[in-house]
Each structure stands twice: as C-alpha cells, then as structure tokens.
C-alpha cells in the first residue's frame, strides 16, 4: 500500500469565542475569552458556576439561515449544521464518502428532558418527540440530510479525545486509499448531566481556568463544534495520528504521562518526526492532567512553545480535539501562536515554554495537537504547512 497524502481542505468552527473560522481566528489571536456565568440552566448547588456558552439566539439564527426547520433543532444539532455547512462551503464539490464525528453526549439536554418528563409524568408528548433526536448520531444525521449529503456516519465517543480520534480515523481512511473524501470533526453542547458530573468530581473550578499555572485548580466547561473536509490535497496537511490507551484509572492519567507520550510519539513517528513549532496542549488545568501532559511534552517536544486554549473556549469535551485542530489551522495559516489565558505563576515542576496571556507572532510550519480523556483515551495529530 502506498500511503496517500492527507490534508484539511477546509474547516468550519464555532465556539464561545466565535462563529466561523475568520471570527474565531481573530478572537483567538486577540485573546478573547468566552467564559461567563452559566445561563442555559441553573447551576445552583455546584461549586462551579461558569462556562463558555455559545450564544443561543445567534446559534439558532445561524442554523435557521442554513435550514429553516433547524430553528427547532437541539442546540447540538444546530452546532453541527453550522460548522458542517461552513466546512462544505469551503470545498465546493466536496462529496463525503464517510462522515466521522466525535462527541461525548449528543443532544443530552433532550435526553434529560425525557428523563424529567417520565419521572414527573408531565410533558411526555414533547419529550417523546425529542428523545429520538438525543442519541449522538442524530445531530449529525439531521445536519447531513439538511445539507443534502449522503454518507455513512461514524460517531466516535472516546470522551475528551473524541474529536482528535475522529480526525485520526479520517486520516487512516484517506491515507490507506479506502476513502478519498471524509467529513470529520467533533461537537458537544453543554448539558446539566455533564456539568453536574465534572462538578461533583471537582474537576471543574469555581475560580478562573489557568492551564499549566502553578495555582491551577480545574477546568471550565465549554461547547461548540468544528468540522473539516479531509482529502488528499489542501492548504494544511494532516501528516500524523497516534492513539494510545492508559489503563491506570478510569478518570485519572498515570502520573508518568506514559499514555500521552505514547500518543504523541506515535503521531510524530507517523508524520516522519518533523520539528514541531507549536504544541496545542490538551491543558485542562486540572492539577494531575497538566502535570502528566507537561512530562509528555517535555519528552516529545522539549523546545516547542505550548499553549492551552481551554481558558478561552472552556473544555468542549468531544469537540475539543476538532476545535483545537481548527485553532492549529489558524496558527499555521494566519501566523501566530494562540495564548494560554489567565496564566499567572509558572509551575516549577516543568520548564515548558508557555505562550502566556497574549498570542505570539510566529510562522509555524508543523504543530501537534493533543487530546486526552476519561477511560485513558489519548490521541494526538500532527498538522503541517506544505
């Protein structure tokens, strides 16, 4: 088998810091944060009361402008539609042979509504109609149908690594020649269940999210979506993908960083070991995750500048790998390194070159993006400018 080149031909992205690649890139470079008080539901009783929410009215309007009935869709489906439409608009004539999308929770809020309706015995008619649209595949299928696309759909749910795994599976298909055009990415919308889950684990913080800071105290959740037209040619090449499983614990990485390091090394090996100019870290800002990721980065890419964009976008879970791949695309195309917001005190346990608080002008040619998740899911991709 002769490996085929793999590239990102176009992208679509939305998150709390922007709708569309242009606005996203500009706000990322400017160091805009999308984090604010939770408005979608009442977080009373939780330690954390902030999140990086996508503006609901703007989202609905954007979805409606693409497909009028989408105004009544779940927020998750609206996010998929808007990001998918932008990616496809950027590659006229792109007809996907496969669609691979990562997510952790689908349209979970509609599943929650069904649970509440059945529990209370009220509102069952609407809940019955909606629950069929809750499973993770449905937002993608809805969006594809609205956009007139027909292709098999694979939903990857590897916790917070899902988006990167989805891009990695697309890489494998195109590289092997099994497919020539794959639409891939990730999405996740905020929901009470997930918010309560991270809060009760004390993984989310009541303070500011400070990735890699000595005084980091946890993550802030976010939401969004990013999609890519993956094919054999395009302005940015996807040259490597690596995945590894860390079986240390269901929710905690092995302190050595062995899982992240294995994924990074596999991705770098697949890419032919290019000199890495920038690391987009998973960087959740939880004490353990950042510590073990720092060890892995110091081993795999000791001199590369590093940032975590999660202080700006929140942790978008299954969308994170895809959204951060879009940020890497911006870095490569627009010539800057995205900042790690809220960085105050260097952590003496590592010597990473953190891109702190404001973006850094640069001309990166090769970048690596990390995503690590519950269940010991570790994934990395390498992107390069030809």
């Amino acid at each position: 088998m002769t490996p085929q080149p793999v590239a990102l031909a176009s992208a679509g992205c939305l998150s709390a810091i922007g709708f569309g690649m242009r606005e996203t890139s500009d706000n990322l470079r400017a160091g805009i944060s999308g984090v604010g008080p939770v408005k979608l539901f009442d977080p009373a009783g939780c330690r954390c009361s902030t999140a990086a929410e996508v503006d609901s009215s703007r989202l609905t309007e954007a979805a409606r402008s693409i497909h009028r009935p989408a105004a009544r869709w779940s927020r998750a489906a609206q996010m998929v539609l808007v990001s998918m439409a932008e990616a496809l608009d950027g590659s006229p004539g792109f007809v996907p042979e496969m669609v691979i999308v990562g997510t952790t929770s689908g349209a979970m809020d509609w599943g929650e509504d069904f649970f509440a309706a059945v529990s209370r015995g009220q509102g069952l008619d609407q809940a019955n109609r909606r629950v069929g649209f809750y499973p993770p595949q449905m937002p993608v299928i809805q969006a594809l149908h609205a956009l007139g696309c027909q292709a098999p759909v694979r939903i990857v749910s590897n916790a917070c690594a899902s988006g990167t795994n989805a891009l990695g599976m697309a890489w494998q298909l195109v590289r092997s020649g099994r497919a020539k055009k794959v639409l891939a990415g990730g999405y996740d919308a905020l929901s009470r269940l997930v918010f309560a889950g991270f809060d009760c684990l004390q993984a989310s913080t009541p303070e500011l999210c400070r990735p890699f800071d000595a005084n980091r105290s946890g993550l802030v959740l976010g939401e969004g979506a990013a999609m890519f037209c993956v094919t054999t040619g395009g302005p940015v090449r996807l040259t490597g993908y690596g995945a590894a499983t860390d079986t240390h614990h269901l929710t905690q990485p092995h302190p050595s960083g062995s899982g992240p390091l294995a994924a990074m090394r596999a991705a770098l090996d697949a890419a032919g070991s290019p000199a890495i100019d920038y690391v987009n870290a998973h960087g959740t800002a939880t004490p353990q995750n950042d510590a073990c990721e720092a060890l892995a980065i110091m081993e795999a890419c000791p001199n590369a500048p590093v940032s975590s964009t999660k202080a700006a976008t929140g942790h978008t879970l299954g969308a994170a790998g895809a959204i951060e791949a879009a940020f890497c695309l911006s870095a490569l195309m627009d010539g800057f390194l995205p900042p790690t917001l809220n960085f105050r005190s260097p952590d003496p346990s590592h010597s990473l070159d953190i891109v702190a608080n404001s973006s850094r002008p640069a001309a990166p040619r090769a970048v690596i993006s990390n995503s690590f998740g519950f269940g010991g899911a570790n994934a990395s991709i390498v992107l390069e400018k030809p």
Binding site: M1, F41, P43, A44, G45, R47, M98, T104, E112, F114, F115, A116, V118, S119, G132, P135, P136, Q137, M138, I141, L144, Q150, A151, P152, V153, R154, I155, V156, S157, N158, A159, N165, G168, M169, Q172, R175, S176, R178, R192, L193, F195, A196, G197, F198, D199, C200, L201, Q202, A243, A244, T245, T247, L250, A262, G373, F374, G375, G376, A377, A379
Partner: protein, 327 residues
C-alpha cells in the same frame, strides 16, 4: 483482502458462549421489575469469573458483559500480543443505567447533587476502558456509538484499521445493557415491546466480541464490508438494503443467504425477513451476537451476507465465508 475471524465471545440472555449450555438456559422472558416492562436479562452469575476484577466493582452491567465477551474472544491469542491489540467498542446507550441513577438526584434536587462514584461510568467509553484494563490493551481503544447497526459498523471500522496497515489484528466488542428508562423510550418509538402483550421483541442485553486478524481465521473470514448512508424514511428501506446487498455479493455467489437485523419501524419495508437468531432486541449488541451465533452453528453455510438497518436508518453489512467441516 480477507479478514479472519479468530475468536468469538458472547454474553446473552442464554448465558455465556454459543451454543448455549442447556444447564444454564433461563426462562426467555422475565419482567424488569419497573413498570412491568418486559426485558430479557442476562442471568446472574454469567460473568462471575470476571466480577472480582477491581475496575468492575462500581461498573454497570454493560462493562461486565463487555469484559467477559472480550476475554472469551482472545482466550486463544498469544498474551504477549495483547498490548498492541486495538479495540473497537460499539454501543447504543453505553452505561445508561448509571446515567439514570446519576441524573435522578440532579433532576430532583439540583445540579450539585451528582455522585462522583457514578459519573465516570456514564461516559460512553467506560466499558472500553475496562476491557482495555482487564486485557492489558495499550493501543488505541475506540468507542463507536450508533443505532442498532453499530455492531456491524464497528466490524467495518476494524476491517478498515487492519487493511490500512495500522494493525495486524483488532478486537471488536459490542454491548448494551437493559434499563427501564431506555426501554420506555424505545418502546414508545416502536422498537421494542412496551408490554408483555406487544408483538415486538422485548429489549435485551449482552455483549458479543470478535477477534479479527489479517490472516485467515480458523472458522471464517470477512471478504467484504461496507456501511451505507442513513435512510430518511421507510420508502428508502428496500432500495438501501438491496443496494447494500448488491455491493457485497460476489459473482461467484450471487444468491447467498442473508441474515438481516431490521428493527420494528422498518421491518415491514425490508426486502429481507428479519432474522432473530437470539431472542430480543439488543440494539448495538444484536448484530455481533447474530454473527457469533451463525459462526457457532452446527451446520456452517459457506457464504453469507449479514446486513443491518438500525432504528435511525444507519446501515452496514458484510460478506462472510465460512470453512465447512470436512464430510
């Protein structure tokens, strides 16, 4: 390129493995105990040999089913190869029982009332993580979520992985667990029985596993595999399944038998009769279970198409060649 099937595992309402041991045969229908919804449950004690594994202390049934089926599928494999074995795990609902238990107090008492012991098991890839931990798998473990065709789609993904040269083998596990809340949702959608008198199959649970290899398997090989675009309505069922079958048939065997899984809402429109080789609607678990049952049958059929149409219109299929016993 043919993909060999080198090991199988099955946890079902009929116990462990296939063919079932008559001694472990259980009544086919037992009420779930909640709202008197019919459900076919895996008998207690079926996974006793792995229940003491520490990671499974707090896990849901789905993880126990998945680990047990996975262990059986790799039982004949050289253990030194396990760390490099990738896993593709398929599910429809994941740990839905834990999700319901976690969310109940959040719904009634507020967002701050979630249990940190339950939440990690609600994540879709928790069962895959437990399988990896039990077997010592360190390569990528990928969880795929989809409608009831996802088991076959996972086989397709594993075949793609092997043919891409990424790995010489892959373990595929599909699992689902019974949950009363999920049963209510599926029964309202006409996918499974909502009462004892319903003509639809009751919701069931279990796990099935296949060890796939790049060399021919001792009993069977997968010659072709494909996934189809999701259909939108019943009018597309016949064309979609016929097209899927046509793309998989070989000129040498144009009329080979079909084993098809087509759930309630679509069944009347299917050009192929729904094959119910195991009792009940097991969602993600049904397709792979059907495959294991076929492979463990007394009279192997040389060539076979296995097709699946899920309740959300997702489709997948594969063509299987079995080695017949020498007469």
């Amino acid at each position: 390129m043919s993909i060999g099937i080198s090991g199988t595992g099955l946890v079902s309402t009929l116990g462990r493995g296939w063919p079932p041991n008559d001694d472990t045969r259980v009544p086919l229908v037992e009420a779930s105990g909640t709202d008197r919804l019919p459900g076919l449950r895996v008998p207690a004690g079926t996974t006793q040999d792995i229940d003491s594994f520490p990671r499974l202390r707090r896990s849901g049934d789905i993880s126990r089913f998945a680990v047990a089926a996975a262990c059986d599928a790799v039982a004949q494999m050289d253990p030194s190869l396990l760390p490099g074995l990738p896993l593709i795990f398929a599910t429809t609902d994941g740990g839905v029982g834990h999700s319901a238990r976690f969310f109940a107090p959040v719904e009634t008492d507020g967002c701050g009332k979630g249990s940190p012991l339950l939440f990690p098991e609600t994540v879709y890839n928790a069962p895959a993580s437990h399988v990896a931990a039990r077997l010592g798998l360190q390569a990528g473990a990928t969880t795929l979520v989809g409608d009831s065709s996802i088991g076959l789609a996972a086989v397709c993904a594993a075949c793609d992985l092997i043919t891409s040269g990424t790995s010489q083998a892959a373990l595929v596990v599909a699992a689902n667990e019974f949950d009363p809340m999920a049963c209510q949702a599926y029964s309202r959608a006409g996918i499974c029985a909502g009462s004892q008198s319903s003509p639809l199959p009751p919701l069931t649970e279990g796990a099935a596993a296949l060890l796939l290899t790049s060399h021919p398997g001792p009993t069977a090989s997968i010659e072709q595999w494909t996934e189809g675009s999701p259909i939108r309505s019943a009018t597309g069922v016949s064309a979609s399944l016929s097209s899927l079958a046509a793309s998989l048939r070989s000129p040498q065997a144009p009329h080979i038998p079909v084993v098809a899984h087509v759930p309630g809402p679509w069944a009347a429109s299917s050009p192929f009769p729904t094959s119910q080789l195991l009792p009940g609607e097991g969602l993600a678990f049904t397709d792979l279970a059907q495959l294991v049952v076929v492979l463990g049958g007394d009279t192997p059929i040389p060539d076979l198409l296995v097709l699946s149409l899920g309740f959300h219109g997702q489709t997948a299929g594969l063509r299987l060649t079995q080695r017949c016993a020498t007469p």
